[in-house]
């Protein structure tokens, strides 16, 4: 019974691959665009190169983003795009986070006097 309750709780639906705020931000920015380059993403999320690289590797291993390396002249450029699985995972994560917030807000609302009581 306790186990069943734990499984149905929204926190159990949070994805460990993206629940980290920086990875959530990366996936969110990538989902809003067709693709975004490494430098823009780094500046947008205020991350260091190394930190961003590590998070990108985690998301790529999870199959949530695609990384493409191109060259503009001699200058290398790294483009990041969200995969379909990544977009879906982000949607589920947002839904689970909303549920957590709503679940905490619901008992507080219930204690407020209703229109009849007023």
């Amino acid at each position: 019974m306790e186990h069943a309750r734990a499984v149905s709780h929204p926190t159990s639906r949070l994805d460990p691959a993206i629940h980290q705020p920086a990875r959530l931000g990366i996936l969110s920015a990538a989902s809003e665009t067709k693709r975004i380059d490494f430098v823009s993403l780094r500046d947008l999320l205020d991350l260091t190169d190394g930190n961003l690289s590590r998070h990108l590797a985690t998301l790529e291993n999870a199959g949530y983003i695609k990384i493409e390396k191109t060259f503009e002249g001699r200058k290398p450029r790294t483009w990041i795009s969200a995969t379909r699985a990544g977009r879906k995972a982000l949607e589920k994560e947002i839904a689970a986070l909303r549920e957590i917030v709503d679940a905490a807000a619901a008992p507080a609302k219930r204690t407020l006097p209703g229109p009849q009581a007023a």
Partner: protein
């Protein structure tokens, strides 16, 4: 209430903070990627040019010159904007352009059916939707206001050309303002 924490250990406060962070990232990405300011400048220029032509040469029926000019200018403008965004490290999804174009067509039909000014309605609807999708609700509302005011002015007897000039100037002003908006 003590929140039940599981393997990811996210409390309601943390969840709210993450949603807030997500909204902020989405808002900044959309603003950078969709560039509604450029859309407003282009749409304002079309309204202004159209209004000026029908005011200066009311009998000549030269509006088609504006539309040919707009058609010729739109492709290189879009290419320039796309290249500029690519240089900034962003490649945009086409859904905003398609949605705005659909809004323009829809509102043109609606304007013809209700007796409103089709050009003002179409341009205002397209740019308002573009600004809304770019997470700029204030600019979007202001654009709707400009469209409604422009149409009401025509119904009150103001010449269509003059109204279009005023709408064009207002949209250009909104575009310039939204470039600097926080």
């Amino acid at each position: 209430m003590q929140a039940r924490l599981h393997r990811t250990d996210v409390s309601p406060t943390q969840a709210a903070a993450r949603l807030h962070y997500l909204n902020d990232v989405q808002r900044r990405t959309r603003r950078a990627a969709y560039s509604p300011a450029y859309g407003l400048l282009v749409v304002g220029a079309i309204a202004l040019a159209h209004g000026a032509v029908i005011t200066l040469w009311p009998q000549a029926g030269l509006e088609w010159l504006v539309w040919i000019g707009a058609l010729l200018a739109v492709r290189p403008l879009i290419r320039w904007l796309r290249r500029r965004l690519e240089q900034q490290g962003l490649e945009v999804q086409k859904r905003v352009a398609f949605a705005s174009a659909a809004a323009a067509v829809g509102f043109t039909v609606l304007a013809v059916a209700t007796g409103a000014n089709p050009l003002v309605s179409a341009l205002a609807a397209a740019s308002a939707l573009m600004a809304f999708l770019a997470s700029m609700p204030v600019v979007s509302l202001a654009t709707v206001g400009v469209g409604v005011a422009g149409d009401l002015a025509i119904r009150q007897g103001l010449a269509a050309g003059t109204s279009q000039i005023l709408v064009g100037v207002a949209l250009i002003a909104l575009g310039l303002w939204s470039m600097r908006a926080p």
